[in-house]
Symmetry: C2
């Protein structure tokens, strides 16, 4: 290799990759002009812009995001905090976020809080140290310390999954209380009275669904705490079966079951099949989230379709809008949900036996 012409006595630490200065030199302009051409081409004359982009291509120049982040005190990164990765629901939210980020120079960096407030706060601090361009966090039950960190983050913040009265900045989700209400009311309307509730994990959102269930049951005059069976264990299909067996042992006369989510419902269905308890003839069954599987199960399972993918899309769109200086008309976006009525809660079908 020929020695660099401006090599000094001091060793240089260059990585060897072309820099903005190299591009500027080749294009015969100042470095700042190149920087501007990259960030906001409109601010540079067409003539120079062409020369610059030619030089960039010739050199194979790629912007160094670390240097950029240091100089501007702003990393091109959106931090995302989710409580779980195994949970299909969050996988879809992430998919929505990524999808909304196509052809954006923003990167997403996410972390798993494992449903722990302490972890959430710790991870948030890690994120904040990088000066992210935006933050997406799950739920509305942050600790006061976490909330303060979010308020002082100095970047757009979106709380996702549910909505509440007091956003840190922006919010997108739906009402889990109403979701719980809606599915339970459907069962009541279908003539069920001894409706059990099965719940796992029991995070704040699960509790709000349970509240919705209680509200309906009380209004219908058929509430009984014995109908409720929950565990703090993580949700899974097999836990669904376990919860069913506990509930059935406790209250064998139940005529319907509302499950905190679809995994549990699936487990209940299998357990019922194994115990020769026909669904819905003997027991009606409903889930929550409407995983793809629910529509094709046998019998197909009634569920509340929640807009996971859309929540992700919308959240990232809100961040980008805020970054572009546009304040949303509404800082709280309720994406709602949809009750999907299927065979598992329809007694008048051919499945009865």
């Amino acid at each position: 290799m020929v020695e660099t012409s401006d090599a000094k006595n001091r060793a240089r630490r260059s990585s060897g990759r072309p820099t903005l200065a190299d591009v500027a030199r080749r294009a015969g302009v100042g470095t700042i002009t190149v920087s501007r051409a990259l960030r906001d081409p409109k601010r540079v004359s067409v003539e120079r812009r062409d020369r610059i982009f030619t030089a960039i291509d010739d050199l194979g120049y790629v912007l160094n995001p670390n240097a950029s982040a240091l100089a501007s005190a702003r990393a091109a990164v959106i931090g995302v905090l989710v409580p779980s990765l195994t949970n299909n629901v969050f996988a879809e939210v992430l998919r929505g976020i990524h999808d909304g980020l196509r052809d954006s120079r923003l990167q997403i960096q996410f972390a798993n809080t494992h449903y722990s407030d302490v972890e959430e706060e710790r991870l948030l601090r890690v994120f904040l140290s990088q000066h992210p361009s935006g933050l997406i966090v799950s739920g509305i039950d942050q600790t006061p310390a976490t909330r303060t960190l979010l308020e002082k983050a100095g970047c757009p913040v979106v709380q996702i999954m549910e909505i509440g009265p007091d956003p840190v900045d922006m919010m997108v989700g739906f009402s889990h209380f109403e979701g719980g209400r809606t599915v339970t009311q459907h069962l009541v309307d279908a003539g069920c009275r001894r409706i059990g509730f099965l719940g796992a994990r029991m995070d704040p959102r699960s509790h709000r669904r349970l509240s919705g269930y209680k509200a309906v049951m009380e209004a219908a005059g058929c509430f009984d705490p014995a109908f409720i069976t929950t565990t703090t264990l993580p949700s899974s299909v097999s836990i669904g079966g376990d919860l069913f067996r506990m509930a059935y042992a406790k209250t064998p006369n139940i005529d319907a079951l509302v499950c905190n989510n679809d995994d549990l419902a699936m487990g209940v269905l299998f357990a019922c099949q194994r115990a020769s308890l026909p669904v819905p003839a003997r027991i009606s069954l409903a889930g929550f989230n409407d995983l793809e599987m629910m529509a094709v199960a046998f019998p197909s399972i009634t569920s509340i379709r929640t807009p996971r993918f859309e929540i992700g899309r919308q959240a990232i769109a809100m961040v980008q809008a805020a970054l572009a200086g546009e304040r949303p008309a509404n800082a709280i976006v309720d994406l709602g949900f949809e009750l999907k009525i299927r065979e598992s809660t329809t007694r008048s079908n051919i499945l009865n036996r």
Copy 2:
């Protein structure tokens, strides 16, 4: 606000957060000593170390990762490229990666290639521009261009999910060909002869499982291309049902079905139930991956348990070891798989009717 004592005529751009220099001043040492105390405490005398950490606590100092990345030409980030997020399998790999990263200052940054080579290359370039500390990519079928980028990445690289003869750097996974062979052989051993294969997505790993299936069928003298039904559509439970109906229409005399993955198998089970075709009495059924659900389905479904979580753990462990200068004894780690035999392939059980 009181003006900073050393404020010059030029505006300063400080973010206001304490810096290494602030810590150094307070501890009465040089900045580089603080930097060293943070990165490798053993290189600093105990006395100063204490003074430094006290100062850090007093000031609430947090290292600026952007400045660090610029100065060292190394970001504390591991880039992870996966082909899908909806796929449960990759969600578990990510969980394994995160789990292996607890109490490490490394962050993970991941991206979704959507099973596209072009996207993979593009995303890899984005990652590389940040000088990541490590890279984890899925599969072994990178394009030549992508492979070259990986070879010149200048950081540890781990290819995950499967193993092959020619790693870029390191590899951890298992043989999908052997997986396909094993499950098919099990069916042959169980007396099945007209064994169908159902596949969705058909990425390279799916093809290798199919090859394993073919090998066994040919060896058993019962191979027939009509037994194979595949689609390039993404895998899902409902696609499983569709594929089953196609296969059953084409070859109604099949006595068993090997599914490319568990989603499909689940869909087949539901479709069989709906069509009153008892599993396994009329049709034996096997999946691939052994999702949690398979063990509690009714009937429970035979599957190949693949070490997803462990792959993630091992991959990140290999990156960390390499970063610590330890070269692994073996650059290729075969984590194997396990055949889980269940009711869906056991004809002599009480489910027969």
